[in-house]
Assembly symmetry: C2
Homo-oligomer: 250 residues x 2
Amino acid sequence: MNFKLLIQYDGTDFHGWQVQENQRTVQGELEKVIGKIENREVKVIGSGRTDAGVHAEGQVANVHLKRLFTPDKLRAAINGNCGRDLRILKVETVSDEFHSRFSAKLKTYVYRVVNAPVMSPFWLRFAHHEPRFLNIDKMSEAAKLFLGEHDWTAFSAARSDVENRVRTVTDFVINSYWDDCAGAPVIEFRISSHGFLRYMVRSIVGTMLEVGRGEKDSDTILAAIESGTRKLAGQTAPASGLTLLKVEYE
Amino acid sequence: MNFKLLIQYDGTDFHGWQVQENQRTVQGELEKVIGKIENREVKVIGSGRTDAGVHAEGQVANVHLKRLFTPDKLRAAINGNCGRDLRILKVETVSDEFHSRFSAKLKTYVYRVVNAPVMSPFWLRFAHHEPRFLNIDKMSEAAKLFLGEHDWTAFSAARSDVENRVRTVTDFVINSYWDDCAGAPVIEFRISSHGFLRYMVRSIVGTMLEVGRGEKDSDTILAAIESGTRKLAGQTAPASGLTLLKVEYE
């Protein structure tokens, strides 16, 4: 039976999604817990990796199991044996062909920034802190440059075994709302694509923050995209602000 | 100079507000940090204690210092030397007579409950998890019983050196709103009074949760208030759901 898992994790205390020896990872913890339930080694297939410190409100994975479970029983069995910073929200049975990575149609990430003189402890784990003024209009204008099909070499990790760095960003919106607890605006960068390269969202957001602070203009961004020159892009924004929001399937 | 501090803390890793030997407390950390800045022992006067694990979005304290600081300089000096789960949002100079406890007119606490089958890791530190159905209408109806001046013996810590347990609850409202991240309703109990007894809010909320689950009725609550019998009240709700929201002054 093939089970689809809807997963949330606070990435703060994980070394990312992918299994690594001697490190706590989300995939590693799930494979250990489900392996015990199933009483054999299992492979948990994620929709994609997330880096160390990155969160997920809607990660999707699937796992093929021999034992029969009702979805709710499997969910309870996994949750009962994981750290509380990792939770399966939902389990569904799906066709054997379903593959959480290959079947995915669209992924959406959100990057949150608290734009305040002092960082509220309540946002500390899940947002980046920027005390300097950010010009939302300028950032929203620049966000349009990132839409569509481009080679994202300038906005991705230098070392990577990915050869084709062309991806299509279908949506990129910036929302700012007042948060009573922070006593300040929280700015959300929401970006959707069929697929992302490593560090791509954090590199785009880091560039946008420089635009918001008036340190970078549209011409530089266009040049970065066209030439694939990393030093024209902004600094990679910290992992803590980034959350995988949802993965969509047909 | 007398400085008024607006303070936030994630209470998870503190043993409450009040100084205790060999324990990390909010008052203890502030007195240590400000004492170093001032180069002598200082006393930080809080509006009131919060228990271990209880949070604050708007705790208020004051401290008399001999050194002259601009408010922003003092804020930066304190924040630069505290753990990141403790932050001074604002510093103001106030008259020498201002006393954060004696001058306080009204305190408001919020208690948050995630009413979902599975607890989202993003709410784990700041809300209590209740998987069972909670009837909001029944709770809102019962909340009216807690308004006004009462002896709160049944809803406070048994061991306490407080003699007068009469307090006046001026406001008690329950709000439920859908939270996308939790994938479920978050229920907020918001309660205001000039002063609270130890465990009073958590005991009232614990009682309300029993009402919401259909385990306790209005007659029992009235009997608890009138007789001061602790066993008629509900279980004290866990500290993690409780946050001191604000302290108001004239």
